[in-house]
Symmetry: C2
């Protein structure tokens, strides 16, 4: 009989749940369902277990054949615990224990930060995983993952690879980032930051983009067509990402930078601009470090969560 693990990616609006066959962590089925928006500190776990059961039934298997569950959570995670979670109501909680309580004793639970696990998943799914890699997740927020000597780095406070909160500019007057400070990469390269830049550049120059109905995709599409404010916006976003990557190279000097997340879906157009900025800013031989697009798309977190728990079996 086949053996399985689940990989679950908890997002602010949706939860992605994948069942993976062991030993190769082969994706069998991926589903998603809305994130419960009340009593999240219990309802999220209940919903996950319910959906795990559903998936097992559909595949004609049971929890007896499930070895474990990996959870990707959108906040700093340390030792299976969350302290402050800006995106879902999981504050001051031992996630690992909360999940274990609801599952048979034989099932292992492993928990990690979603961006870190996306990095881990991307890397594990490569033919030859990198030993040292830096992964950016560009989306509503800007996160990342750091792999050193083959291991995912959490940091002392679970704050390793929080690239979105590197200070990259002087900050917007009278404003603060979600982290409580100012001048963060996320304030420019996160969705809200991109919208702000677009509106700002549109004061001085005409745009074809409807400023009352902004999406990142519309801005990037307009930029590709040469729209002035949209192009300035994308250039500024790429510039700060490239600059931040050049600084990361002076700290961990990775083999590769991998760019993932929703915004990265705009593909080579953004990537080329990031590379241009990176090469302008990179020092020494780090100028040659490749920057590539991630390939798993929004499945990366579920893959990473599955690999995490598999590695701990």
């Amino acid at each position: 009989m086949n053996q399985y693990v689940f990989g679950v990616d908890v997002g602010g609006t949706n939860i992605k749940l994948g069942i993976f066959e062991l030993p190769n962590v082969k994706l069998v089925k991926l589903t998603d369902f809305p994130t419960p928006n009340e009593h999240q500190d219990t309802a999220i776990f209940d919903a996950i277990v319910l959906n795990m059961q559903k998936v097992c039934e559909e595949l004609g298997t049971t929890f007896d054949h499930v070895k474990g569950v990996g959870l990707a959570i959108p906040c700093p995670v340390i030792g299976g615990c969350v302290d402050i979670c800006a995106n879902v109501g999981l504050n001051d909680l031992n996630i690992e224990e909360s999940m274990k309580l609801r599952l048979p004793k034989h099932m292992k639970v492993a928990v990690g930060n979603d961006a870190s696990l996306a990095a881990f998943g991307e890397n594990k799914e490569l033919k030859t995983p990198y030993e040292n890699a830096v992964f950016y997740t560009l989306g509503t927020g800007v996160g990342g993952g750091l792999i050193i000597n083959g291991k995912l780095i959490e940091g002392k406070n679970g704050a390793a690879s929080e690239f979105g909160h590197m200070k990259v500019f002087d900050g917007f007057e009278g404003e603060v980032c979600g982290c409580g400070k100012n001048g963060c990469l996320e304030q420019i390269a996160g969705t809200k930051g991109i919208f702000r830049l677009m509106k700002q550049y549109s004061i001085l120059e005409k745009t074809v983009v409807d400023l009352n109905d902004l999406t990142v995709k519309r801005i990037f599409d307009a930029a590709k067509m040469g729209d002035g404010p949209a192009l300035k916006t994308v250039n500024r976003v790429a510039n700060v990402i490239g600059e931040s990557a050049a600084n990361i190279a002076m700290i961990v000097d990775p083999e590769v930078f991998i760019i993932g997340g929703g915004i990265a879906a705009s593909g080579k157009f953004l990537l080329d601009k990031i590379i241009e900025s990176y090469q302008k800013n990179a020092r020494y031989k780090t100028i040659y470090t490749p920057i590539v697009l991630a390939s798993l798309g929004n499945k990366a977190g579920a893959f990473g969560a599955a690999h995490l728990v598999k590695d701990r079996l």
Copy 2:
């Protein structure tokens, strides 16, 4: 009969050479001699071997009882090799092989970057070494060391922990840093940068410091006495170091920052200002990460080199 390793720290003006007793890497004797300034790619190695022999004679021992030599080199080192060395004439050279050629076959050679090895030495000499630590070396240049999961991180190009070349400001117009770029931490917090700031602030405000005979110590001493331009200089230096550390925390989130190097000898005065800037800039729980002074002083590189080769025996 006792067994030994040598730890050698090659600097631009002096070479420090220590002999350490195994198995505890206990320093027996530390000497230094001037760095040969001609034909450095051969003369440096010859001088090291000669001085190793001298030290052995003085201690009544021979190379038969020396297990290995560790070398700390002031440039990026990868796999025992140096590509470009800004500070001594050791370009495009396999340092490990050059040293081995001059020694009996039983002796192991290990090579690393001086700032990284200083970090490694500081850490190894602690009662309980840290598993994850960031070490700044503040001197003529600004370097550093990064220890993750107990291991010294070199990076793909030997450029890991080159903190002095993180971009921390827009750069000085019409100038470049030693690395070829502009806006580097070292351009402010390195000796040359400190002198430049001091001169700049002294245009607008009177100082007691003789601007024609600057030393870092004089500037720091004047700052302690409340001298305006000197205080502004120290504040600016501490500010950028604190800011850069806050960014490093968002990348590797270490257990501790350790500040070493010649400039760190100014002690708590600078340290307190760095901590103030760090805490103003740090995000999440990394605000509580301790920043402490190194304790081995200018012996750290030799200690680190000795520990490196000992670990490889």
